[in-house]
């Protein structure tokens, strides 16, 4: 790892000042950034640690509105009793990220700011129609995830929370790479007042996306059987040594079926 200057922010306002120093990066759980710095894929001059800022932590549920602080860890999301009642699918999804040690450190804000094309949270937030709240503005999930490791965030902008309306039904299913355990295909299905939305991670060659074919079939009939014979086009899907685009296309339909069955269970 190259030399770096560490700063521990005491508040979001403090972090917003500190992030202006040199070529600084925000640090939350560090489960991607620290390994990236170790391999010298990332070399920020300064790190601004957000993980001890109290105002960024915790899950709030008020009626149907769920708000998750940006520095809330995967473990805290997975084990939050209020969330397990309001939106069990999101708690379940968080319990499938990485491994237990990673879930203790990694955060929702860090995951979506990084926008890894195989990360789980982007699929959940896109399907839930979530709003990403920053220290400057609110951004709809549909406009937030803009490509591989790319987001709508501006330089120095800090995610403070994520909020969404709890869906009537939802579930997440993923097919893991047997070695890395990242999603080869992950599908988050949500049925809310605005209809059905289905978001796919791990497969798109431009990152997370919504599957129109599956959404159309489920809008008519929210049942796993409604997806019998539905073909997802392989165009714009990733092909690599782990899975071809055709295989991923097939997996999307299979994972969507399983997710709908779980959401209806």
């Amino acid at each position: 790892m190259y030399s770096v200057n560490y700063h521990r922010a005491t508040s979001v306002a403090d972090a917003a000042k500190l992030i202006k120093s040199g070529d600084a990066k925000l640090l939350s759980g560090g489960m991607t950034l620290i390994p990236a710095m170790k391999t010298r894929l990332a070399a920020p001059s300064d790190l601004v640690d957000l993980s001890r800022i109290k105002e960024l932590q915790g899950v709030k549920v008020s009626g149907k509105t769920v708000t998750v602080g940006a520095a809330t860890t995967h473990y805290d999301v997975a084990s939050d009793e209020k969330l397990k009642k309001a939106c069990p699918a999101l708690a379940q999804m968080a319990s499938l990220i990485g491994d237990p040690a990673v879930r203790y450190r990694g955060t929702i804000g860090g995951s979506i700011a990084n926008n890894d094309p195989a990360a789980d949270y982007p699929a959940a937030l896109l399907a839930l129609g979530a709003t990403i709240v920053t220290n400057k503005r609110q951004i709809a999930a549909g406009k937030f995830f803009t490509g591989l490791f790319e987001t709508a965030l501006k330089d120095g902008e800090i995610i403070t929370a994520v909020s969404f309306t709890a869906p009537a039904k939802a579930a997440y299913e993923k097919f893991r790479n047997p070695a890395s355990r990242y999603a080869i295909v992950g599908v988050f299905v949500a049925k809310g007042k605005d209809g059905v939305s289905v978001a796919v991670t791990g497969a798109g060659d431009d990152g997370v996306f919504r599957s129109k074919e599956i959404e159309a079939a489920l809008a008519k009939n929210f049942a796993a059987s409604a997806l019998d014979g539905v073909k997802v086009p392989a165009k714009n899907l990733m092909s690599d040594i782990h899975a071809s685009a055709d295989y991923r296309a097939n997996l999307i339909a299979v994972m969507a079926k399983r997710a709908v069955a779980a959401a209806n269970a």
């Binding site: 790892m1 190259y2 030399s3 770096v4 200057n5 560490y6 640090l27 560090g30 489960m31 620290i34 390994p35 710095m37 170790k38 391999t39 790190l47 640690d49 993980s51 473990y75 990485g98 491994d99 237990p100 040690a101 990673v102 203790y104 450190r105 355990r181």
Partner: protein, 166 residues
């Protein structure tokens, strides 16, 4: 350079380290606690797992300065003098190690896992919870056996204590 002050295995320690120093290197090189191992150095193997404020985390993926102010428990802090911790005793009894390189991380992960499952553990849960710890010798079989046995011993111990308290 930053000052790093920690509570490690019940003792207050402090030192100065470069900001880029990983917690595992601070523990091993500054404090001489070489029980915590560096296996893969890419956050996958779990040989470096220690408890930071009661949570089992990978000390190769955290800066020492990030941990400053925290309470750390390493493998050296588990035994009570010559008496092994129940998880250590179970690994010995059930032959849960061969070369022993992954063992400190396995044991620190296991103690955290047992604490999070007071209702008890089954084999499937133990195997799923060991997702972040890699062992290249044992095939995991005896590790799983040891953790299940330790979980039972510790549940009995907790019940005994509750009876004493009552």
């Amino acid at each position: 350079m930053s000052d790093v002050s920690l509570m490690v295995n019940g003792k207050r320690v402090s030192g100065t380290a470069e900001d880029r120093t990983l917690l595992v290197h601070f523990l091993r090189e500054n404090l001489g606690l070489t029980g915590t191992h560096v296996g893969c150095d890419t956050s996958q193997c779990g040989a470096c797992v220690v408890h930071v404020d009661g949570k089992a985390v990978k000390s190769c993926s955290m800066l020492a300065v990030q941990a400053s102010g925290s309470n750390i428990v390493t493998i050296e802090g588990l035994a009570n003098g010559a008496d092994l911790h129940p998880v250590q005793a179970a690994f010995k009894e059930h032959h849960g190690l061969q070369c022993g390189f992954c063992t400190p991380g396995m044991i620190m992960t296991a103690t955290d896992m047992i604490a999070r499952h007071p209702e008890g553990l089954d084999e499937a849960t133990v195997r799923a919870e060991l997702e972040g710890n890699i062992c290249r010798c044992t095939g995991y079989h005896n590790i799983v056996k040891a953790i299940l046995a330790a979980s039972k011993t510790m549940a009995k111990g907790a019940k005994g204590k509750a009876k004493q308290a009552a």
